[in-house]
Symmetry: C2
Subunit: 336 residues, 2 copies
């Protein structure tokens, strides 16, 4: 029998809590015998959801917490004052080694703050990085960093590149991932002060496959596997990706519904178009890991459905099996 992995699921976080979170957890334990989930949150609500399903009782645990961190709450305050929240309690279990990982669809800021303040950084990692997977025409790329720590310095970006490369190779199975830095032109001398300082440092890294500058225009085509940038730019890329995508899809739908003729056309292309656009939906790849922490914290979309929660839990298993934290420690740790 393979090694068990214990994953906390923050049952109260996200737009679809607790229903979809509990369903995702149940699907994960039913799908794999190696999964043990710990649902943190209001016991009664969680039990209500669990009663709808059949599942191995010995691999689903509930840890009751009274508090719930709301989506719009100021993160630092929330983490400090809501000690008995599903997120804080879950993170403390990861910190104490009672769980290997936590998956949360809740307040992004609180997940980032809690990850650093409670779970803690690997010694030697200067900044943890939030690294979502974004869809491309060829599959997917890792965008690192999209976290809350803006105004990064060059050594941070180098660590992001190395952690991202490890994750992409070991967890997402991309051999020798191509690492690019987001820039405003392809030439080495282009860029702002941060990029100019970081470029030669990345070029000198022997443990990554650095391919140079990447222009934002080429990201959707899948020009590289690990896209390195500081968090402000990463956040703009991530959100504009969503924004342009949803606006265009909205406009295409409008064009399809214009008149009787287009409606007939729409019926004929519906399944093919749906399938194509599904490939451009990032949530199928699971959540975004917060890399560089002593335990694994995975942030899934606030709108996560059960499928994304299940995928994220499986992602945690691979993360543990592949010993990602040990590799990060070896490569980036202080004794390196």
């Amino acid at each position: 029998m393979s090694e068990m992995i214990r994953v906390v699921v923050d049952a109260m976080g996200g737009d679809n809590a607790p229903g979809e979170l509990v369903k995702g957890a149940v699907d994960a334990v039913n799908g794999r015998e190696s999964i043990h989930v710990i649902l943190t949150g209001r016991k009664e609500a969680i039990e209500g959801e669990l009663s709808k399903y059949t599942y191995p009782k010995d691999r689903v645990e509930i840890v009751h917490c009274e508090d719930v961190i709301e989506t719009a709450e100021p993160p630092v305050n929330a983490i400090r004052s809501k000690k008995d929240s599903s997120l804080v309690v879950g993170m403390q279990m990861v910190k104490r080694g009672e769980a290997d990982a936590i998956v949360s669809a809740g307040n992004s800021g609180a997940v980032l703050v809690g990850g650093q303040a409670i779970v803690g950084r690997i010694r030697g990692v200067e900044r943890p990085a939030l690294a979502p997977v974004i869809p491309t025409e060829k599959g997917m790329s890792l965008l690192i960093d999209c976290g809350a720590n803006v105004d990064a310095r060059a050594p941070h970006l180098v660590q992001f590149a190395r952690m991202g490369s490890i994750y992409m190779e070991k967890v997402l199975g991309v051999k020798n991932p191509r690492v690019g830095i987001v820039n405003i032109g392809a030439e080495e001398e282009k860029g702002n002060a941060l990029v100019k300082e970081t470029f030669p440092l990345l070029k000198a890294c022997t443990d990554i496959n650095f391919i140079g500058s990447v222009e934002a225009r080429d990201i959707p085509a899948g020009v590289c596997d690990v896209i390195v940038c500081e968090a402000f730019v990463g956040n703009v890329i991530l959100k504009l990706y969503e924004g342009v995508g949803s606006t265009l899809i909205h406009m295409v739908k409008g064009a399809l519904m214009k008149n009787t003729k287009t409606k007939i056309g729409a019926a004929l292309i519906h399944s093919s178009l749906k399938e194509t656009l599904k490939a451009f939906d990032g949530s199928q790849y699971g959540g975004a890991p917060l890399l560089g922490l002593k335990g694994l914290v995975v942030k899934t979309h606030g709108s996560s459905k059960a499928q994304e929660v299940t995928t994220s839990i499986y992602q945690c298993e691979l993360f543990k099996k592949q010993k990602i934290n040990e590799i990060i420690k070896e490569n980036l740790g202080e004794n390196n």
Copy 2:
């Protein structure tokens, strides 16, 4: 008779030079009696193109230049060494007041460098800004700055906001344009150091309609009219806009061509879809002005066709009629 405007068209710049540039210029003079164009570039090539059309000869002038600046040439070198290029000669005419404006589809970097070095800044404007119009679901927004001067400081961004607001109102006819600053969250305390420093300065401006932070996700929906950011972020937004758009459209086309059934569907929706997607094509709004210079420099897409060139020339006329430079000088100039 209305006042004449003299516009230089850099006939050698861009992917479709000189053909589309010359055609665009001819269409502009044929369309409006107030337009006089000066085509700079190789005389023989320009005359060859002009011979295809009928047009008022007294309003189309050729100024022969021997040199051509190539698309990939390093900008500073190009401007310095190619004194007899269509771009440099055209800009010198603007500088000397022999022309009111120049439209170029050539090397972006050279247009920016030349604009500053040859045409020169309005005294009091710390940095000129390149401000393309991007399409949104509701129409268009001005993205300022997308130029080559990265690492801007807060006072620069404030000037961008004010110049962008003037342009949007006077040239593009948006009453009391809503100005937003690109940020990673809606709250005032969010952002990187630059945004945090700029936010209260924008809030204190009495001459603009500042609506606060704008997340990249909301840009395509048309949440504001003037989008303020420093050039690195602006460049990422502009290029990712294009990239996500073209990737998605490419994918949709693939879905439509999948099999016989989808091909029939595609034929039925073709004209409606084409019309919808055309609305999301920025080139219909003409080129991007380089704001804050003593004369008007308009950069059109490298791939510009005649229509975009004509629109850009008309844009120059409105720019002059509305006395944009005088207004910028009054509002931002040193004696203000």
